[in-house]
Each structure stands twice: as C-alpha cells, then as structure tokens.
C-alpha cells in the first residue's frame, strides 16, 4: 500500500481513536495516537495476516504489549475488516467484545491478551520460541511502551530472546517519552534504551515512528541469529495538538468540546 494512502489511513484511524474514547468517556488517547503508524506499517505492509481468516495457522503474530493503546489496534483491525467499524463505538461497554485491554478470546484479530505491562512481550517471546520449535515460518512482533521498559519482566524476556537466538522475534518500542506521572526521565529514567537492548544481544534500529516508510524498511530487514529491536521515536497524542507531548492525556477521555476540536483538527466529519 503506497505511502499516500497509508498516511491518509493514519488520519482516519486517529479520528476513530478520538471518537471511540469520546464515546466511551474512558480510555488512553496519548499512547494510542503515538503508535498508529507502527500498527499501520505492520498490518498493511509487513505482517502476513488475513482479516478473513484471523486464526490462519501461519499468520504473523502481533502482540500489543502496551495493551492500553488498544483503541489504535481496534481501529486498525476494524479498518482491515476483522469486525464492523460500528463496533468501535461500543469500546469498553458492558456488551462489547472490545475490552478496555485486549482479549484474544473476545476480539477477532487479537493474538494475545495484554494490559498488565511487561507480560505481552514475554508471551510474544514464548510464541517465537514455540514457532521455531514447531518449525513454523511465521514471525512474532510485539509493541512495547517506554514506561513499560521499567518492568523487570521486559529484561527477563529480552535476555531469553537473545539466549534462544530468536531471529523470528521483533520488539518495537513506541518511544514517546511520557508515562502517566510525567516524563520517563522524571518518573524512572530509562537512559539509553537502544544501548540496553544492544547489550542484551538485539540487532537495533532507531527510526521516526511516524514515518511509515522508515518503519517498514527496518521491519523488513532480515536478521540472522538474533532478535530485532526497533526504537520508534514518536509523539504522545500525535495528531491532536492539544494532546501532543502532554502526559496528562495518557488516560483521559476528551470532553465534548475537546472532541469536536480534535476532529476538526484531524479534518474528520464526526458523522463519518
């Protein structure tokens, strides 16, 4: 899919995210808006997936370890055709399959339930070992958050991924620099995160996390004998200026006026 179409998709996905959160009056806008291009690159260019056959045996697995960003994942899955787009407006409601954090037993297209930080990457690592054990050809991608790297489990999983030489395993960091209580540096500095993954034995890349071509290029690079780490430099709340780079928008739903402003800025008709 060409860059222009994908960029246009990103704008619509952001509109869907804002509308979902406004409708639900609950959820996490900042980290959802920051990982839109990562998800689009994966679902439309890199990963071997089929919306008509969500459980396809040899599909690439995509694990959103930063599960609170699931509005972005749900919007992309709906756009791909895993379920009707109208389902999005039932996010977090009592009769909805779209849970507050991803649940693979409820939502078509979700491979692993996540939400408790650190666990998604670790489960994804386990799937990658299993895939190799079974001589399956699929790859496993996981998207983690920067605050999430404060979890010790991330480093246990990183150690094991390198130990088992998982070249079918890619960790993508949505590095927006902010978490609930403030910047990473204020809350718990993660220092040079790329060097850390390098030291653990990953092949590391750093890209503009809002540039679908740059993301696609590094995700498609083959690696041999070691896992891959892609640090995507992103902006929290990307696309909605009053949310951008504001940690206060980590887990807050927009009020009506904010919703209307955001949709106007994104150029999306609220009845669309």
């Amino acid at each position: 899919m060409n860059t222009e179409v994908l960029t246009e998709k990103a704008r619509h996905i952001r509109g869907d995210i804002v509308k979902m959160l406004y409708t639900a009056q609950s959820g996490h806008p900042g980290g959802s808006l920051s990982c839109v291009e990562i998800l689009l690159s994966l679902y439309y260019r890199v990963a071997n997936v089929d919306a008509q056959n969500p459980k396809m045996e040899n599909r690439d697995r995509i694990v959103l370890s930063k599960g609170h960003a699931c509005p972005a994942l749900y919007a992309v899955l709906a756009d791909k055709g895993y379920f009707p787009r109208s389902d999005l407006w039932r996010l977090r409601q009592i009769d909805s399959h779209l849970q507050g954090h991803p649940d693979n037993t409820k939502t078509p297209g979700v491979d692993v339930n996540t939400g408790s930080l650190g666990q998604g990457m670790s489960v994804a690592m386990g799937i990658a070992i299993a895939a190799r054990h079974q001589k399956a050809q699929y790859r496993v991608f996981t998207i983690i958050g920067d605050g999430e790297t404060q979890e010790g489990l991330i480093w246990e999983a990183a150690m094991a991924a390198a130990h088992y030489k998982l070249d079918n395993f890619t960790v993508i960091l949505d590095y927006n620099g902010l978490q609930i209580d403030g910047s990473n540096d204020e809350v718990m500095g993660i220092r040079d995160i790329v060097k850390k993954f390098e030291a653990f034995g990953f092949e590391c890349y750093k890209v503009d996390g809002h540039d679908v071509d740059a993301i696609t290029e590094v995700l498609q690079k083959p690696v041999v004998g070691r896992p891959k780490f892609v640090c995507c430099l992103t902006a929290k709340g990307r696309g909605v200026s009053f949310m951008e780079d504001k940690f206060g928008w980590h887990g807050k739903a927009p009020a009506e006026i904010e919703y209307l402003d955001a949709m106007k800025e994104l150029g999306i008709d609220i009845n669309d």
């Binding site: 670790s122 489960v123 054990h133 079974q134 489990l153 999983a157 094991a160 130990h163």
Partner: protein, 315 residues
C-alpha cells in the same frame, strides 16, 4: 510396585511417560531441573525441554506463549517461586483466558525443612484457588502424582499440581480411581470425618487407627482435588459424622480447610476444625521436627477428633 518415592521423582517420571505419548508436551524449568526432577525429561527429550534461568515471571509468560502456539507446556519450579512470584503472570497471561498450561510445582509446604521459611510455601493453594477456572491437584503418593499429571493433560485449561519434596510411602494402588473433583473415601466411619490432602493423608490414616483403639470410628477422605472441591462428599460426610477435621500441609487460610468451610457454611449443622499452618511463617528444621512443632501430627488429629466427638456427646 513402588513402595516409597519422592513425589517430585514420580512427577519427573510421569512427564517422561506422558512425553512419549504426546509430542506436543514441552517442559519449562527455572534452573531447578535437578530439584524438580524435570531433568529426567530433559535427558530423554532435550529439544522439548526449555530452561529459562532464574526468571520465573518470564517463564510463566513463555509458557503462555507456548500454549498460544498449540504446545502443551508443563511449568516446573518450587511452589513459592511459581505460584508466589509468578502469581500475577499466571492470573493475567494464563488463567484470565483459560490457557492450557500445567503447573507442576514442587517443594511446597513445611516439608521443605532446612531451607526455612523463605522457601516454605503455605499460601500457594490459596493463591491458585482464587483464580477462576484453575484446577488444583494435591497428590498424596507416587501413584496419585502420576495420575494427576495424566489427568492434567486431559483437562483443557490451567492446572496446578502441588508436590512435596520428601520421600513418602505409597498408600494408594495403581488402580485406585483418580477422578478430578471427586474425593476418595479411604476409610469409612460414622463418628467423625478427617478430610485430608497430600502428605497429610498418611497421618490421617494413622490417626484413624489410633481413634479406632478408643472406639471412635473416624472416616478418612482424600481430597486430591482442592478445586473444584467435591462439595457433595463434604456435605454427605459432614452430615453423616456430625464433625469434620481438615488436615493440610498449608495455611488454614485459603487451602483445603477454607474450601471445606465454604461448602459447609449454611449447609450443615456439623462442626469443623482445621489443622494446618495456623497463620504463621515457617522456619528451618528437620521436616519431622517442624511437623511436630506446627501440629501436623497424627496425635494432633486424634486430639481434635476427640474434642469434636466429646462436644457432640455433650450436646
């Protein structure tokens, strides 16, 4: 015919036997394969054995990943590090979506002995019992351990098998039924019912012998499954005997005693006494000395049964 064996050895042997039949079976350990006895499996199936080092949280999630990919993972380490340290990973990555992961955790309870309180897990059943859909087996001897492993493989969902370290006598037979959720009456009696689990079954049987010498007919029921608890058996025996004594090598909070109390509450007039660890941590010592100090003895079971019977007569 096995006369005496450690349950961890029986566990390791059962994995090998099951592994020969089911090639989806894989075993995970956290640098304790020589203690949990999964090393016998590793020796026969090196490509189906995965060591995750001293990183139990990651191993829980890795097991989840294996199950997502369609393998049948058996997760082994000490009870404290699996159920304790791994608790929230077990809850969210496995139990929450009813993934098909089996936990065979050893070195549970007071019988860990010399390693002391930091390694003696009295809370693991309590932690696992709070998880919806978790099946919990506590085998009492080598034959039951083997049956628990095979039964776990037949269940589609998470199963916790709790085994201890000591060498114990065989008290069941190869053909004794092992039906998940169905307690086994090992000795009939009408005056009082001893409901026990795991290593405490042999103490319960010894206590029943002592009671018989004093003309008290004590029933002994083996609760090899703590969850789902055999509620029908609990109520039948409670109503028949009028008094129940539970016995477990675990805290009386959250284990067999609690499970039985929950069934009895509001459903029977029978009285209940619970023998187990009385809301305390453990300490170093020889297992038998610790059992004596913490009241896990046949004498203590006899005492509690007689107290119940005399209260019954006074009534």
């Amino acid at each position: 015919m096995i006369k005496r064996q450690s349950l961890r050895v029986a566990y390791g042997d059962a994995l090998v036997e099951l592994g020969r039949k089911n090639e989806r079976l894989v075993v995970l350990d956290a640098d304790l394969a020589h203690a949990t006895m999964t090393n016998t499996f590793a020796a026969e199936f090196p490509d189906r054995f995965f060591n995750f080092g001293i990183a139990e949280a990651n191993m829980v999630c890795a097991a989840a990943g294996f199950a997502h990919a369609g393998l049948l993972p058996f997760f082994s380490t000490f009870a404290l590090f699996g159920a304790g340290r791994g608790y929230e990973m077990i809850r969210n990555s496995i139990s929450y979506i009813q993934l098909n992961v089996k936990f065979g955790l050893s070195h549970s309870g007071l019988s860990v002995g010399e390693d002391g309180g930091s390694h003696q897990s009295f809370e693991d059943i309590s932690l696992m019992r709070g998880l919806p859909g978790m099946t919990i087996f506590v085998p009492c001897d080598p034959y039951e351990t083997r049956k628990a492993v095979f039964a776990a493989a037949e269940i589609n969902g998470p199963v916790y098998i709790r085994v201890g370290r000591p060498i114990v006598d065989t008290i069941t037979a190869p053909d004794t039924p092992f039906i998940p959720g169905k307690a086994n009456v090992m000795r009939e009696g009408e005056d009082v019912c001893i409901m026990a689990t795991g290593l405490m079954i042999s103490y319960a049987l010894a206590a029943a012998e002592q009671l018989a010498a004093q003309n008290i007919r004590a029933a002994v029921v083996n609760f090899h499954t703590i969850k789902p608890i055999d509620a029908e058996c609990v109520l039948n025996m409670a109503n028949r005997c009028g008094g129940v004594v539970t016995v477990e090598e675990h805290s009386i909070i959250g284990g067999l005693g609690s499970a039985v109390a929950e069934v009895m509450a509001g459903n029977t007039g029978a009285k209940l006494r619970r023998i187990g660890i009385q809301d305390k941590f453990g300490k170093s010592g020889k297992p038998q000395d610790l059992f004596n100090e913490y009241g896990l003895t046949s004498d203590n079971i006899v005492y509690e049964c007689m107290e119940l019977c005399s209260a019954h007569e006074r009534r």
